[in-house]
């Protein structure tokens, strides 16, 4: 019990400092994770309001799908509007972002 507690504490501590030791590096490919920044860097730059709303809302609960056909984009966004209680404005911005 005592040994297990020490082990768990060490692992938890290691996990807690993980973000601190990770060095900022620009992501490659189509990562859905926002670009990494240094401590004093400005907020992430988005190409559009739709991208900003998409990353602020959709990525909160899950990784965004790597891709999906455009003919279901309206269905996906309507589902997200209900599930995530998106505002009407946010719904339109995300739909425009998915179908530029």
């Amino acid at each position: 019990m005592k040994r297990s507690s020490i082990l768990i504490s060490c692992l938890a501590g290691a996990f807690a400092i993980l973000p601190l030791i990770a060095q900022p590096t620009a992501p490659k490919g189509n990562s859905q994770v926002p670009p990494a920044q240094s401590k004093h860097a400005p907020p992430p730059a988005y190409s559009s309001d739709g991208e900003r709303v998409f990353k602020q809302n959709c990525s909160r609960c899950h990784e965004a799908p790597q891709s999906f056909p455009p003919q279901i984009s309206g269905t996906v966004v309507r589902h997200m509007r209900v599930r995530a209680s998106l505002s009407e404005q946010d719904e339109k911005l995300i739909l425009k972002f998915l179908n530029p």
Binding site: F15, A22, P43, Q71, T75, R78, V82, N99
Partner: protein
């Protein structure tokens, strides 16, 4: 399945002009293993979801599950249990920019885990939090009506709400308790901070009140996500705090290292009196969970976790592994 095909056929006549509203089939399929206290089970699972828009204001959606549980029967083979059913089946009517009316069987809106994190392809850890049974009224689904939406929104804050009323239902596919409740939350998009509170009241047999609060914080400058909930039932309470961090800073999210996602969750429950109906452990319990997930290309995720549970009824180790594939495609090709 018949319900799903019916929804798809109805929606086939309701395409929009741009051809973006074709019904979709999504969900997850996986193979999971669980070794808890030395007892191992093997669990193949399929959880399909269909969403079908009707016109410009209606969305019909449903999610089901098919689950098998295999475990050694103590002789030379395996015993098998089979489960299948509907998780929810609801119709959503977007009445205005602030109001969506929901009818049917829906996930009980209490705290965050049940509605947002419980799907197979979303949850970071196979086991839900110990307090996930508080406030969701038994089956975690309600049968009746709900109003929800964004009450107020601007570039700094989004206030959303959900209020529901459920009838008692003993139908095995639409099981629910007579109850009511709701949730309200504030989301600050610039800070990526969400705070919210939930309330639920069971109205049948012995009435009971449930309350909860949640705080989520996902700093924009890092891939760290912090989520937490506290919930209170008449005879028990508890909390969980979860942190997950995708190592996307190491050469990006598509790199070998960047696909790794460590997860840590700490949880604790407190029991003040026996109550087998609230779903919490029968004694005060502490649990720490360590997960390590790896996101392969093409929506495939490898999962592994170790949990240590401390309780006066006995400590135990829980080991879990799994592979989950998330699918998402239209029901037909469209225009």
């Amino acid at each position: 399945m018949a319900v799903f095909f019916l929804m798809a056929s109805i929606a086939a006549h309701a395409q929009d002009e741009k051809g973006q509203n074709i019904p979709l089939i999504s969900g997850g399929v996986g193979f999971l293993t669980n070794t808890s206290g030395g007892n191992t089970s093997y669990n193949p699972i399929l959880s399909p979801l269909i969403a079908a828009p009707l016109g410009s204001r209606i969305l019909v959606e449903g999610r089901g599950y098919i689950l098998d549980v295999f475990y050694p029967n103590g002789q030379a083979g395996y015993a098998r249990f089979h489960f299948q059913g509907l998780t929810y089946l609801q119709a959503n009517f977007i009445a205005s920019r602030h109001l969506t009316v929901v009818g049917g069987e829906f996930l009980t809106p209490f705290a965050t885990y049940n509605e947002r994190l419980s799907p197979l392809w979303i949850s970071n850890l196979q086991n839900g939090p110990l307090i996930s049974g508080i406030g969701v009224m038994g089956s975690a689904s309600s049968v009746g009506g709900m109003v929800r939406g964004s009450a107020f929104s601007n570039s700094h804050v989004n206030a959303d709400y959900a209020v529901y009323y459920s009838a008692n239902s003993t139908n095995p596919n639409f099981s629910a308790e007579h109850s009511s409740g709701g949730r309200g939350s504030l989301y600050f998009p610039n800070e990526r901070l969400e705070v919210g509170a939930s309330f639920g009241r069971r109205l049948q047999a012995t009435t009971a009140n449930f309350a909860g609060v949640h705080v989520w914080w996902e700093p924009a400058s890092t891939a760290l996500k912090l989520r937490s909930e506290y919930a209170h039932a008449p005879h028990a309470s508890g909390y969980w705090i979860e942190a997950d961090y995708r190592l996307s800073r190491f050469n990006g999210g598509e790199s070998f290292i960047g696909r790794i996602e460590p997860v840590f969750r700490m949880q604790q429950t407190f029991r003040s009196a026996p109550d087998p109906g609230d779903g919490l452990p029968s004694a005060d319990t502490q649990e720490t969970d360590f997960g390590l997930n790896y996101r392969l290309p093409h929506e495939v995720r490898l999962e592994s976790s170790y949990s240590r549970e401390f309780s006066s009824t006995g400590d135990k180790n829980i080991w879990q592994t799994g592979i989950v594939y998330r699918f998402l495609f239209p029901t037909w090709r469209g225009k």
